[in-house]
């Protein structure tokens, strides 16, 4: 599957309620060691209710500077969340459907604001 086909796709919950669009895909490099780097495993998709544009990394950490850009991007991506691969039911060309009882995680890497 080509990732560009998924970015920007609307995301719906099992009842058909629109939750936002796919803004990014998060990979974690904790797979088996490869030839040079470890395998990059898809952790999940970042869903944003208002914009599918890039967060420029501001969602990952507590970075707040430059102030206008940080606040603009946080406002633009308010309500965004990370949904894990295990909670994705179908990835289609028109919609990404989540499983019943999915969990919306914060897109921040942790609660300390540090990467």
């Amino acid at each position: 599957m080509i990732l560009g086909d998924v970015l920007g796709t609307p995301v719906h919950d099992p009842a058909g309620l629109r939750l936002g669009r796919v803004a990014d895909a998060r990979f974690t490099m904790n797979g088996p060691p490869g030839q040079l780097l470890a395998d990059a495993r898809l952790l999940g998709l970042i869903v944003s209710p208002h914009s599918a544009s890039s967060f420029l990394g501001y969602e990952r950490t507590g970075l707040a500077r430059p102030w206008p850009i940080a606040h603009l991007l946080r406002w633009r991506h308010r309500g965004s969340f990370l949904v894990l691969w295990a909670d994705i039911d179908t990835i289609g060309t028109d919609t990404v459907r989540l499983r019943e009882g999915f969990t919306a995680y914060s897109p921040a890497l942790n609660d300390t604001g540090n990467e």
Binding site: M1, G4, D24, A40, R41, L42, L56, I91, N110
Partner: protein, 134 residues
């Protein structure tokens, strides 16, 4: 659904990469530091679109960085057919930073064939085009 009003933080071991932030549009350098291309898209080992994903399916992995003739589709929308995209296997990637560094030489890759074609067919035929400037 537990909403983002009470966000749950997910602590993941290992380095995390966000596709748009760390990979897409990044410049790719080969093992000698020679520019090869830029990343236009990414291929993952997920099931084809519209296929239901059974619970417990292992997470897909990033299989290749894609590059190719995307100028027209970036302007007018869509993307080139998958068969026209050139794949750089993830196993050849050595580091992801400000640029993406490969652990192999770029010459054998198909990704820079346009530059090689211009070098061999055009630049080489210009007098003095076959050696470094003196």
């Amino acid at each position: 659904m537990k909403t983002a009003r009470q966000p749950k933080y997910l602590r993941t071991p290992g380095r995390t990469l966000d596709a748009q932030l760390h990979l897409l549009d990044r410049q790719v350098l080969d093992v000698d530091g020679v520019p090869v291309t830029t990343v236009d898209d990414i291929e993952i080992s997920a099931p084809p679109p519209e296929t239901p994903i059974p619970a417990g399916t292992p997470a897909p992995t990033l299989t290749a960085l894609l590059t190719g003739p995307v100028l027209g589709t970036r302007i007018f929308g869509g993307r080139p057919p998958s068969s026209r995209l050139i794949r750089i296997p993830w196993r050849d990637v050595a580091d992801v930073g400000v640029v993406i560094r490969l652990g192999v030489r770029g010459e054998p890759l198909d990704a820079d064939w346009v530059e090689r074609w211009i070098r061999d067919k055009i630049i080489a035929r210009i007098p003095g085009g076959r050696h470094d400037p003196r």
